[in-house]
Amino acid sequence: MSAIKLTIDGRPVEVEPGTTILEAARKLGIDIPTFCHDPELAPNGACRICVVEVERARALVASCCAPVAPDMVVHTESERVVKARKAILRLILANHPLDCITCEKTGQCKLQDYCYRYGISESDFEGEVKELPLDDTNPFYIRDMNKCILCGRCVGRCQEINGAGAIDFIGRGFSTIVGPAFGDPIEESSCVFCGMCVDVCPVGALIPKAGVGKGRPWEVEKVKTICPYCGTGCSIYLHVKDGRIIGASPDFEGPVNRGHLCSKGRFGWDFVHSEERLTRPLIKKDGVFVEASWDEALDLVAEKVRDLLNRYGPDSLMGLSSAKTSNEDNYLFQKLMRSLGTNNVDHCARL
């Protein structure tokens, strides 16, 4: 099929059939706000913040779901569009805590960003606001449904990608919330704590517990690592502040994981700072480990190894390398064993 030509904000663009208006606009570098849009999920169209004006269309159109059509003329920031976006933001703010000062999400909150962009500082609607208890029954993340704007990305990730199906929309109308069946705490649901919901929440409704109070998003350095657990090879950013890891997030461009993770990769990094980490070489003396210097320890190892080599030959030594350490470490380890004259080197591939 041939490309479709359309005009967005007066600029012509050509895209493949089936492209959404949002994608076409992004191709032009036009930034249309979105809350619920998730390229990994089926089109949702819930939040409506991405509405644009399409000439000759009856109502505004959700750009994240609407496919382009030939000769379409789109306005992404027309007066009518801005009016609708402002109305949506005011409606959200009317039912959203304004505790941005202490909110963990401050600085990477889409609601904040868009309110700033459209100059909405408070809502002029007075009325009922949600007053729901925090769900922090699990050790992984806090669910503050008062901050939830019901964009549904968490629900989509849980159902479509993970498949756990732990959460869905429950209730109707204004009382609609996202949660496990029967309003159970998340700890008692089928949640497997992959944290993919946390990673896509546009506001502060889902906050990883480990990082609470430990640092602001702009203070954090994100370092790319490869997950130390199974063999999938997920790419993960560790969030570092002052030499300590305070959080993690998936690499959305990760060649394997595309922004997806499991509970271990997402939340299981804190062993790095365990109190039980070994920090000094230890030498066993009379059945008890005693701290030693590196020189002492390595000299002792070298001496013992030489002694065994002399007495029994190289094949009296066995080396167990590691499926957990890097290629470089494994290479050196087998090089060491083989350089000592033995091929007795293996690791736990079979276990």
Binding site: S235, H260, F271, L278, P281, L300, S321, A323, S339
Partner: protein, 527 residues
């Protein structure tokens, strides 16, 4: 894996055999789910009702250890119903007639008898797998951790070749490897019979190449595997051991045996990040940096090499593994000097054809590369065996079903299988020191069928004593129909209830993998 993770969503059919994918490789299970959403037929062969089994179109709930019979049965149906890829078999393989003869013995009725899977399910699954344009097989330790592990793997390969599912995208034979760098450790020659890139230690040319590059004489005699080395300690052949980042006490089958072995060593040095159960036996313990504290490359299950960067400094005096090894090598008179991990990688790549085209700068720029990547212009290889296998023609290997080494009897009436759950990892060295993971799942729960539990007077959460000919543990039970009556399941994450005190160290004669998936145990109410 012959193919790539990213190709899974494009498969027309997926056979998962012996893999609890959603718990052991969750992110790969997301790709399987994606494939199912795209319309793929999913066949899961597993004795347990795993999450993947629930998602499956066909769940073949075979008896533990009957994989060869099942696979032969599927092949029998595919041949009988003429669903095979004749063109592929003719052009790309040899030994078909012998395979045909062998699987002819495995009629659906006989296979149903052995495996406990209904004939109609066998037929439906065989048809669904064979009908797909491209069908992928995913397997894990449920295939390899048997005394017939190698037979199982050969059968899987037979099935894939029979239907021409090799050398094309979204197909293939795909072992999902269990550790972040188990593929890399193998690639790097941390194996007793090969150097890097599977270059044989017995090959004189290879030996000469490495000897020259390293400036030392090298042995051409293959070494011992880890499983065999334990026996070698007992018979006095092994006197000293260097262990880097491994915990064989918990991971070896018949762990008591492994513990006794380590005690007999004259000298044991363990380099690790924690005082593991194994390190406790050591004479010297060396504190190493964790993955988050050192730069290095890792190779995942689909042969993809990626760089991992240091995020934080190592605690105290802990040092990067390569630094420790270099220092030790120098003290042992070896002329080693590396400026850092990149220099090591470059030396390795220069000696390893499948990694020859890789470098740190390419890995940084291109995010990752899949081997084989023979030169610096090569884009890497997402799927293997296009047009030809490494040995030339693909070899069909007829295999007969053999029962597991230890079957239940009056004294030990249950079959125990071991594996993982989603919240912990391997022996728990890391995850059990992760606050949220440990808080969420602090202890073992042995899976037992409610009918069995009722007979034994066990209620949900009751402590039970699980015993085998090799040892016993106490753990609480969970009543679930995930397992069939007569079958119990434990993880090996918990040292408090170390499942490997029970498991059978009977090995696969070829691969030396212990039979973790089947051993006979008794269960009774504890205390």
């Amino acid at each position: 894996m012959t193919n790539s993770i990213g190709e899974i969503p494009g498969a027309g059919a997926i056979l998962i055999i012996g893999s609890n994918t959603s718990e052991t490789h969750p992110v790969i299970s997301y790709r399987v789910r994606e494939a199912v959403q795209n319309g793929a037929a999913l066949i899961v062969a597993d004795p347990r009702v795993t999450e993947m089994a629930k998602l499956a179109d066909y769940h073949l709930r075979l008896r533990p250890g009957t994989d060869v019979a099942l696979l032969n049965g599927l092949m029998h149906i595919i041949i009988a119903e003429d669903l095979l890829d004749v063109d592929f078999i003719e052009k790309r393989t040899e030994g078909f007639e012998k395979l045909k003869e062998k699987v002819a013995e495995y009629t659906p009725e006989r296979v149903s008898e052995i495996t406990g899977v209904a004939v109609s399910d066998l037929r439906a699954a065989a048809r669904a797998y064979a009908a797909a344009e491209s069908a992928a097989i995913l397997y894990t330790m449920g295939i390899t951790q048997h005394t017939t592990g190698t037979d199982n793997v050969l059968s899987v390969a037979n099935l894939a070749m029979l239907t021409g599912n090799m050398g094309k995208p979204s197909a293939g034979v795909n072992p999902l490897r269990g550790q972040n760098n188990v593929q890399g450790a193998c690639d790097m020659g941390a194996l007793p019979n090969v150097y890097t890139g599977y270059q044989k230690v017995g090959d004189p040319q290879v030996q000469e190449k490495f000897s020259k590059a390293w400036g030392v004489p090298l042995s051409d005699k293959p070494g011992l595997t880890v499983t065999k080395s334990m026996d070698a300690i007992f018979d006095g052949r092994i006197k000293g051991m260097l262990i880097m980042g491994e915990n064989p006490i918990l991971s070896e089958a018949n762990a008591n045996h492994a513990g006794e072995a380590l005690e007999r060593l004259e000298f044991l040095v363990v380099q690790d990040i924690f005082m593991t159960e194994t390190a406790a036996y050591a004479d010297v313990v060396l504190p190493a940096a964790s993955y988050a504290e050192q730069l290095g490359s890792y190779t995942n299950t689909e042969r993809r090499v990626q760089l991992s960067c240091p995020a934080v400094p190592p605690p105290g005096e802990a040092r990067a593994d390569w630094e420790i090894l270099t220092d030790l090598a120098k003290r042992l008179g070896l002329d080693w000097s590396y400026s850092g991990s990149e220099a090591i990688f470059n030396e390795m790549a220069s000696l390893t054809p499948s990694y020859a085209g890789m470098s740190y700068s390419r890995l940084a720029d291109e995010k990752s590369l899949q081997w084989p990547c023979p030169d610096s212009k090569h884009p890497g290889t997402p799927y293997l065996h296009v047009g030809k296998f490494s040995r030339g023609l693909g070899q069909f290997t007829p295999v007969d079903y053999k029962p597991p080494a230890e079957l239940p009897d009056g004294e030990y009436p249950f079959v125990l299988s071991t594996g993982r759950h989603i919240f912990h990892y391997h022996t728990g060295t890391m995850t059990r020191r992760s606050v949220p993971l440990e808080q969420h799942r602090p202890e073992e729960f042995v899976e037992i069928h409610p009918e069995d539990a009722a007979k034994l007077g066990l209620a949900e959460g009751d402590p039970a004593q699980i015993s085998s000919r090799r040892g016993e543990v106490v753990a609480r039970v969970t009543l679930t129909e995930r397992v069939k009556p007569g079958h119990v399941f434990m993880t090996f994450h918990y040292h408090e209830a170390a499942a490997n005190l029970l498991t059978n160290d009977a090995l696969c004669p070829v691969a030396a993998t212990p039979e973790f998936k089947v051993c006979a145990v008794n269960v009774r109410k504890a205390g």
